[in-house]
């Protein structure tokens, strides 16, 4: 007989159950129960932000080369789970074997793509500014800090991986709330993160309903940015409400999706800092 499990959350490098004790069944494509996932609560989110906060400074102090290597390691670990990913997509999304392998490989390739961007985006976004005086003046992207991410309800593995990588590669930490499309992805994905030398707390994954915690997420004062995936409209009711709540601590709210390029994603996850220093003897 098959052993049914409840897939747990991924917070601070650990796999806790939701403190709320709530879980819900997820069905495979044939309508049979595949597993149960935790329905994360506000408290889980708060704990995850705490972990993200503790991890962020040290993560941003790592060299870009080191962060790139860790992203590459994620790609390596994910490649080892290709079969597991594709099996999951077949079962939960009803994809053919070929399509599920394509989707899994596209996500794995996204790890590699961003691994190679970690030590280059500053060279693309930086500028040395010719000011009218004897000063060395340059502008450089710095991480925003602690961020949250709401995944699209329509599941796309490549986009999910791309978004998470683009957010963390500059030194941010993230609390990601996975969408309704394929919440079971949390199991293999968190195992990838847990075995890639990624410091605990840099990526935290929560399953559950974004709608339920959205207001709390947008209003949380420790969070500096909120990324909402799925190409949502800027004046939809939910986005308007999120914007309103984000105003309190001037949280950056970015609507992202399929059309957002890698460089735009990275730009949305950084703050430009300009430094002046006199030139002279």
């Amino acid at each position: 007989m098959k052993v049914l499990k409840t897939i747990k959350l991924y917070i601070n490098g650990e796999f806790p159950r939701t403190e709320s004790g709530r879980s819900y069944p997820i069905m495979d494509h044939d309508g049979k129960e595949y597993a149960r996932v935790c329905q994360g609560s506000r408290k889980d989110f708060r704990n995850a932000v705490e972990a993200a906060k503790n991890a962020q400074a040290a993560w941003s102090k790592r060299t870009a080369y080191n962060r790139g290597q860790i992203l590459y390691r994620m790609g390596e670990m994910a490649q080892g789970k290709l079969e597991e990913f594709s099996q999951l997509f077949q079962t939960c999304l009803g994809l053919s074997h070929e399509k599920s392998v394509d989707m899994a490989q596209a996500g794995i390739d996204a790890f590699i793509y961003y691994a190679g961007l970690a030590d280059k985006y500053t060279q693309i976004l930086c500028s040395v500014n010719q000011v009218n005086g004897p000063f060395h003046n340059f502008t450089t992207p710095t991480p925003i800090g602690i961020t949250t991410y709401a995944d699209a309800d329509k599941f796309d593995f490549k986009l999910l991986v791309s978004h998470l990588c683009a957010i963390i590669l500059s030194g941010n930490s993230v609390v990601a709330i996975l969408g309704k499309g394929c919440p079971a992805i949390i199991a293999p994905l968190s195992e990838v993160f847990a075995t890639s030398d990624l410091p605990p707390g840099v990526i935290n994954l929560i399953t559950g309903s974004f709608d339920e915690v959205a207001g709390f997420v947008a209003g949380h004062h420790e969070v500096q940015a909120l990324f909402v995936a799925g190409d949502r409209s800027a004046n939809s009711k939910q986005v308007s409400e999120l914007k309103l709540l984000a105003v309190d601590n001037m949280k950056r709210l970015h609507l992202i999706g399929e059309k957002t390029s890698a460089l735009e994603l990275v730009m949305k996850a950084v703050e430009m800092q300009t430094i002046w220093h006199p030139i002279g003897v």
Partner: protein, 525 residues
């Protein structure tokens, strides 16, 4: 030869008007009469040094109109409300001119003009032609610089040497800088198609009236947008004089429209359905209000808001240079600077010697007539702001801060606040957390670089910071740990059209200046 010069030439020859006092005679007189202490002697000497003969810039170069109307579609239009507000010279408290109060109707008219100009003219014009208009504006501004500088000082109370050497030249530079971008936008984001947003509503503050207008207008126009601009109600005059420059440059009607008024006028602009973007510079409170007002729309928004910036002085800094930097950081423009170095973080071991040097330098600051070329600290911009500063100083005293104010004279008429500082303050004091926007410095101490970083970042703001140290590695470490958009290392309050400016956290979002200053006005396709 004047007496002063005579004394100086005699002194050079080794003579003096009065015989030098021998040390023995000093002792003698000390016993009999009360000789001034060294401190008061120093103060007197400094005072003599600072008391220059008045050197006022003539205000004749400016022709003030009795009343000013809106500038809409290339014409001066009377306000539909038929009401005008007073524009006051804060150095005298007297009315300079009357300025139109805009309402919904005026804003509607201006937005319609901007929309028509966007659709029919500005977005269709070759970028190289747009560029040439901006170059022209820059040139004319340079040519009429003195007129603008004098009017700026009359209207806003800032010292003429600052409006003459900082505000107006930087405003011209801004137009010159962005003029060159107009036909090179494809280099700003290679491989992407960029397009303007449409009609931009821009609301600017009273601390750098013309400069802020330039910061807003130049990038918006260079990228192909049209504009409705609302100056601050206290300081509308240079923006209205700018309309003459726009006309002189032949800018097509409706590309720039200026509607004057106070909060209600700005509100009408923010809520207008046909505005694609709002750019605001001002207080964090109003910035949040605006952000809430555009939340249920697709309007783009950039905000440049308040600050409580830390100026960190390490024990290994060049102290005399650091003193100059701290002075410039907080007393420049009467402290009406969003990025003012209003929190001095000084390493504990040099606190006493540094504060002594700082106070000595503060004593030499001349407070007075903004139009006098010798004035260092002019008038507080408005009565309202003057009262707010006074109130915050009282709160600072009540909460136990040690208050020090310079002994130099200040005019008794108009709104003046002498440079002052608080020592013995901790991060929890109101004056260490609230933006005062006046010539009031709050002094805190730290023991290690980590503590300095912690204290500097312990604020919801994140606009700017200063670092003073002769050790490069320390500067880089501290700079990368500070959550502020602009870092001045061994300098402070430097601005340039090519240098992106803007804040993190609650100091707003978006950058103004430089390549990065183009993005808030472009849609990436």
């Amino acid at each position: 030869m004047s007496k002063k010069m005579e004394a100086r030439s005699l002194a050079r020859k080794g003579k003096a008007l009065s015989p030098p006092i021998k040390s023995s005679s000093v002792k003698k007189t000390k016993a009999k009469t009360s000789v001034p202490t060294k401190k008061t002697r120093d103060q007197k000497r400094t005072r003599a040094f600072t008391q220059y003969a008045p050197a006022p810039e003539s205000s004749k170069v400016v022709t003030l109109k009795e009343k000013y109307d809106h500038y809409i579609n290339g014409e001066f239009v009377a306000p539909s409300s038929k009401t005008y507000m007073d524009s006051i010279n804060p150095a005298t408290g007297k009315v300079l001119a009357k300025v139109a109060v805009g309402n919904q109707k005026d804003v509607d008219l201006a937005v319609a003009a901007a929309r028509a100009a966007y659709n029919n003219v500005w977005s269709k014009m070759p970028a190289s032609e747009r560029s040439k208009y901006l170059f022209r504006i820059a040139r004319i501004l340079q040519e009429r610089a003195r007129e603008f500088a004098v009017l700026e000082s009359m209207d806003g109370g800032k010292p003429i040497k600052e409006s003459r050497d900082v505000d107006i030249p930087l405003a011209a530079q801004h137009f010159f800088y962005y003029a060159g971008w107009a036909d090179k936008l494809e280099f700003a984001f290679p491989g992407k198609k960029l397009r303007p947003l449409g009609v931009c509503g821009q609301i600017i503050p009273w601390n750098f009236p013309l400069l802020m207008a330039a910061w807003k207008l130049a990038p918006a126009l260079a990228t192909g947008n049209t504009v409705v601009l609302k100056p601050a109600e206290q300081t509308s005059l240079t923006a209205l004089l700018l309309c003459e420059v726009l006309e002189e440059a032949g800018l097509p009607p409706g590309v720039v429209n200026i509607v004057t008024g106070a909060g209600a006028t700005g509100d009408a602009l923010v809520k207008h359905p046909d505005v694609n973007k709002i750019a605001f510079t001002g207080s964090t409170d109003i910035g949040k209000l605006i952000a809430r007002n555009v939340a249920n729309s697709t309007k783009k928004l950039t905000l440049e808001l308040g600050g409580k910036s830390a100026n960190i002085v390490f024990e290994d800094a060049a102290l005399d240079q650091a003193v100059e930097g701290v002075i410039n950081g907080i007393y420049f423009n009467q402290g009406h600077v969003c990025c003012a170095g209003s929190r001095l973080l000084v390493e504990e071991c040099i606190h006493d010697v540094f504060i002594k040097k700082l106070k000595k330098r503060m004593e030499t600051l001349r407070v007075g007539d903004p139009l006098d070329k010798n004035t260092d600290v002019g008038a507080i911009n408005s009565k309202e702001q003057w009262l707010k500063i006074k109130e915050l100083i009282e709160i600072g005293k009540k909460e136990g801060g040690d208050f020090y104010e310079v002994s130099t004279d200040a005019p008794t008429q108009g709104y003046f606040q002498k440079p002052c500082l608080f020592t013995g303050v901790s991060n929890s004091h109101t004056i260490a957390r609230t933006e005062i926007f006046g010539p009031v410095l709050t002094v805190l101490t730290f023991r290690t670089p980590d503590e300095a970083i912690l204290k500097a970042n312990d604020t919801p703001y994140g606009l700017a910071a200063g670092i003073w140290s002769e050790k490069g590695s320390k500067i880089h470490k501290v700079a990368s740990s500070l959550r502020a958009g602009v870092i001045w290392a061994n300098t402070y309050n430097k601005f340039d059209a090519a240098s992106p400016f803007g804040g993190m956290k609650e100091s707003g979002h978006g950058r103004e200046g430089g390549l990065q200053g183009l993005f808030p006005y472009l849609e990436i396709e």
